[in-house]
Symmetry: D3
Subunit: 160 residues, 6 copies
């Protein structure tokens, strides 16, 4: 039967022991979005045409956060990420910024938490930089879309 | 005209100078949720009847993350939070865990980023602890619901 | 003659260069305890029957601290721990909480500092959560009990 | 009746809300020791006659750890420490290094956790630097000896 | 006679106790530069005309580093900076990027270390982003140019 | 044509993906200096004859900073350094302290940023400890002098 791997036999939180897992290539892709007023998005895009600073700062913040995932998420293992990519795309049709974060590692445990953390912190940073004009922004639909490597192999959203 | 306060006159990202702002009591409340399969929620609740560890770990992670907001969000100021509260409530009707984070400070700048960070990291931690049984969980609708203090006074969602 | 490996030939503090050491499986086990008033222990145990929060929070804090050992201990190397386990057992006979921390890695240097740090911070967290009712608690007898791997092989307390 | 302030009415771990506490001068003094073989202590002392590096590095590590207490201890508040002092004294009679840590702040919450953390990490660092010659060292008797400020006023060990 | 304030009467490193110092407004301005090949500077400037990313990332890194000064510099006090500004100006005449960092706080100790750290890390980040084309870059002349507040009042370079 | 590897095809800052790079032995050596008044250097040297604390603290700070390079420099990869060495040599002829930092790793990316960070933070710490007597000190000429390993092989300053 399926169970929560972070709880031991007595139901106590514990770190999964990955000592005996194989070191394989791992990759995870996460998507999400920050919903906002059309005027807010316009300010970001216009800034973007000139300097792109809101999205640059948010992208950098997401990359940096991925590296600190094991400090933020109590039962995550430290990992030596070999690649972190955060893409932020203004989406005028849905009045949001689309977030995509991708992490890679050769390691004993998956990198979905790293990609989820990168996407979340990129979204939080967009909120921070635009909050003076739009308090009602929402960080939405942060979810895993693809995962490679490890015992479970290749997983894509919608396949389960 | 409204503008993005984190970009200076030349459109470059910068930290807002709050040196001359008054020190006042500030509070922010943020809500969000982690959507999941009903079976996943059931495992959390059953664990909860015994030890409640998933929610306890996530609550602790959220509290700790709030204290590190200024490290994660590049242009946030360091703050001496006097209160951080994270509530996580299983919601069977909507098959999710409801998140509420509340931060307080006596300071020169608001604490909405701290509450947003607490809520997001609490959600990420729930994902981490349950991902072995449910990869499709989604962190959703992280948004500010109330804000007190500072020049803008009392703000509540829906009032704008 | 035996010497302090963290001091170089001139007696200056330095990090041991482990570049040429073999990568082997390493494990360390540390024990210690937090002594307290019987009433304090009773409060922890009773809480434990309901939610176990003091010990859960302390266990999480110990696990997280192990991951940050190289930041806290100036001459420790960064390590990619594959397993961290912290067990906290109320001991009514001795009016204390017994601490056991176990760390694992496949690496070029031992993990005793990581296990010692986990045990110490778990103990400090117990102190923090109970200090309102018992200021006189003592963190006691934090010591290595077993060590595997590396050039020195298997070591157990009492064998020297 | 006395209770654990870090557990709320439902027994869930939470941060104590200090928003309404007065800002007063606070001070805490903690003592402890690292027990070791007489030969180990001799190496430290001899090093000390030349450069004192073991004790200097441990003192620095303790000071730095005090500043990060709120990151290590999950429910501690961030604090702006105005003074941190760590004294390490070789004690040949008891074959140990005596540790004393003292922290000061003007704030809304006490600094005993900061002093306890400083003392513990100083002890761990002594262990780290001497472990190549003495694996059996023990970090012992880390305890609060004095506390000033706040609602509880002046407290000294033995007075309760 | 002048003396090193971070060494106590016995010559041991210690944190200056600022408990009794007045809380006053403090400001510090630091300058420095990263010298490089003219072709390297040209790449930065051309990038700058489009997106300015090298300088944006370096500016963000400098701001973030200022907030972590007390973690990096062992005897620095934690501070609640109210303003951090990092300006990076391409200087074709001298084939370098000029760095200026300015920090502000209302506190009991000066902010020159925060401004020095911001300037240094901004310079290191420029090096990182351009090192693939120019390994010989030099971070040069990081120095304090102005300091306000505290017992020593207003100081400007060249006045001593 | 040479290009800035940290900017992608669209000129956006990104982390270089090193997933497919070989794991090889890497080493980097960096030099720099802190210029100061002859009297300041004399105080350091005299302290050094007794306890050497300024240089010991600075050396420790440099070693610790190297381990945190990936947190400070936004697009740096996390690395498991196997050796960090910081040498600080008083230089009376030039009225400065000469800094040399050397880092080693077996990894997929070079360690020059780690050595540059170690040297810079060692220099900043010297400034901090002596600033009470000499505000005009300058951190100067932080530069790479040698680099081994990776695709580019052995590089020495002056060879390009």
């Amino acid at each position: 039967m399926s169970k929560l791997t972070h709880l031991d036999a007595d139901g106590r939180a514990s770190m999964v022991d990955v000592t005996d897992k194989d070191t394989t290539f791992r990759e995870a892709v996460v998507r999400g979005r920050v919903r906002m007023q059309p005027e807010t998005l316009k300010l970001i895009i216009e800034g973007g045409h000139k300097k792109g600073d809101v999205l640059t700062v948010a992208r950098i913040a997401g990359i940096q956060a991925a590296k600190r995932t094991h400090e933020l998420i109590p039962l995550c293992h430290p990992l030596m990420l070999t690649g972190i990519k955060v893409e932020l795309t203004p989406n005028e049709a849905d009045s949001c910024v689309d977030i995509e974060a991708r992490c890679k590692v050769s390691g004993q445990t998956g990198v979905e938490m790293e990609a989820l953390t990168a996407a979340s912190v990129a979204g939080l940073t967009i909120y921070d930089m635009c909050k003076a004009v739009d308090r009602g922004m929402t960080i939405d639909a942060i979810h895993l879309v693809e995962k490679k490597g490890g015992k479970s192999g290749h997983w894509q959203l919608g396949e389960d």
